[in-house]
Symmetry: none
Subunit: 136 residues, 4 copies
Amino acid sequence: MSITHAQAQAVLAAAEAAADAIGVPMNIAVLDAGVHLKAFTRMDGALLGSIDIALGKAKTAALFGFNTEVIGEFSKPGGTSPGLEQTNGGLVVFAGGVPLRDGAGGLVGAVGVSGGSVAQDAQVAQAAAAALQPQA
Amino acid sequence: MSITHAQAQAVLAAAEAAADAIGVPMNIAVLDAGVHLKAFTRMDGALLGSIDIALGKAKTAALFGFNTEVIGEFSKPGGTSPGLEQTNGGLVVFAGGVPLRDGAGGLVGAVGVSGGSVAQDAQVAQAAAAALQPQA
Amino acid sequence: MSITHAQAQAVLAAAEAAADAIGVPMNIAVLDAGVHLKAFTRMDGALLGSIDIALGKAKTAALFGFNTEVIGEFSKPGGTSPGLEQTNGGLVVFAGGVPLRDGAGGLVGAVGVSGGSVAQDAQVAQAAAAALQPQA
Amino acid sequence: MSITHAQAQAVLAAAEAAADAIGVPMNIAVLDAGVHLKAFTRMDGALLGSIDIALGKAKTAALFGFNTEVIGEFSKPGGTSPGLEQTNGGLVVFAGGVPLRDGAGGLVGAVGVSGGSVAQDAQVAQAAAAALQPQA
């Protein structure tokens, strides 16, 4: 049960729309439940340094099924798991990576967004993940 | 002068159409002229081992402005540059990576395709690159 | 649809029985369909240098859904994909890695075996993979 | 004098029983006294990101013969050995890795457990290590 091509495209489209709405070009990475790259796009003008960050955020969220900033809480000095960010070849532990769950709540992958402030990245990633949820 | 988001999406769409036409799901990577990831998609059912190969083919073609199989000729024993494939952190030197040129002939990036036979990969990559050329 | 714990244990048990039958202690690695470690065992006396090889064979077979020696044919000089063995962080392209398919034929992972001659490794890996097939 | 296959299986079985008792699927790695992988299992549903952590905890405990959290005390700022966690290719320095000693007290390897809270991981690792001790 992993993300489909159609789902990944819906996630990218939602992320791009959210990024356009705030006028910040983003790098957006979508990984499947096995932590393999499924789709990626870099909007025109997005920072080159953010490509690796978007990929790292998606990897971190897919590996653990948590938002990246939650892993950041675990891994900080004084947290439950200091140094956790050094495992798995290096994690990215600030906001902008969000697990992707299908309508039934199953983990199907993760999205990572980077290019703006951390708050902007998180906002766009949340909008992207919402694309797989049933609309109210 | 590097590939735009719109151009990259046109390249992906052309690659997917060509892959669908032969019934082989592909991994398709688009890099810009600076050899940075611009867009990627994995069609449903495409081999996991081909993700890295698609990325490697696009990198090889973008770095040198040649089709990957041409770099293969240079790098083979008896070629002009034996061992070339070990440079740049490792190249992929069989067919399926093609430089992307705009209508005026300028190098704007490269596409790498992997998932089928080498001949199928090359066919899909050529179709993808043609998407940026003026139609006759 | 990936390998379960019970399936992985059945694969290990079949591999150990086949290794015992020929009197050669083996390293046996089982990966899931997402190419992540599911189970591993090193029989007493098995070579230390074969741990990494067993893991590499399983990775190679899981990434491509082919026996490792088939990937070896593709990647050799004069093959369709010379240098293929350098992709994906390095592949192991001699026999002893076999895809794992469930009764319905779906790819659920791979097994890699190392510790004896290549022919012995291949024999044990085939016996291991057969554990997931319906008995005649 | 290193861990045997039979001992490693006893350690895995004890860990799985302890994990089942608290209802948390775990990744469990057993290394020998030479810090080489001896056995591993991932219970169904255990986090993918915890595979590397279980391996890292077992490595850390096997390298030094201490529980991982003790290495954490040494390595933290103000500890006796700040930066110790960066040695040996990276250590994991929170609880869940425990040295394995035979009945006579000799170090025969280590077990690393990851998948739950740090307290849960530590509890399961202690239960696993106890499997090699004479029963009262």
